[in-house]
């Protein structure tokens, strides 16, 4: 799989560290344990479009949100995770 880093250009995925699903919402500090369990452990596992956090660890070191097709590894977009 090749990831088009918005800063460095297209690179092989072995230059990146993978974290997991992007866009998780952290529960409030006083949320119920069920909400924390969901946040920490439970993940969707879509066959298709999926947004994930990848860090260009061997390149520009930026965290990116990469949206790809989990079936084909086609990448739809790669943008900075934070502005």
């Amino acid at each position: 799989m090749r990831i088009p880093c918005p800063h460095c250009g297209e690179r092989g995925n072995d230059e990146f560290f993978y974290l997991g699903a992007a866009g998780l919402t952290r529960p409030a500090a006083d949320a119920q344990p069920e909400a924390w369990h969901d946040y920490v452990y439970l993940r969707d596992n879509p066959a298709g479009k999926h947004s994930e956090l990848w860090q260009h660890a061997h390149g520009c070191r930026r965290w990116l949100v990469v949206t790809r097709d989990t079936r084909t590894h086609a990448v739809f977009s790669a943008v900075d995770a934070t502005p």
């Binding site: 800063h7 460095c8 061997h58 520009c60």
Partner: protein
Amino acid sequence: MVEHSAFAGAQAVTATQGGTTVRAIEPLSVVSVTAWRGQEAALADAVRATFGLDLPQAGRWTAHAGLTAIWAGPGHWWLQRGGRSALMQELAALGDHAGLIDISDARAVLRLRGPLARDILLGLLPLDLHPSVFTPGQVASTIAAHMTVQVRQLDDKPTFDLSCLRSYAGSLWRALELASAGPPRLSALSA
């Protein structure tokens, strides 16, 4: 203080093959410069006013009067001078706009120069180094044998500088040796 080569464990600090040489570039003074949020333009102005140097765009490096600026990421550059110099003091005024870290002792640099340089790197780096794609003035941070390596093209001989963490210096030397032992690729294809 006694300077020790980062490549002291290598068989030689200079090696030659087919008119292509590799040698250690040391000592070097290197300072990591990271613009504070919203201070990139002010930092660029200060560098231009003080050193007559334009901070490079993404994937590029610039130099003026012995001071080299290497892009290292968004809002992040390395400023570098040959030899041991008081670079931190020289750059101190930039501290109004950026975080400065002296990384001189954290880095080791090999310079690969000559007709086989590109062919050797093709066996080491997962980058497109074709002269139509990667040219003098460009820099990229990538992997070489699992190590993070910054590769910078200096000229058309071609000459490349490879910078790695100092503790990986011996491993990078060995990886270059192995890459050098492989068959030439690009020149054979274009011959």
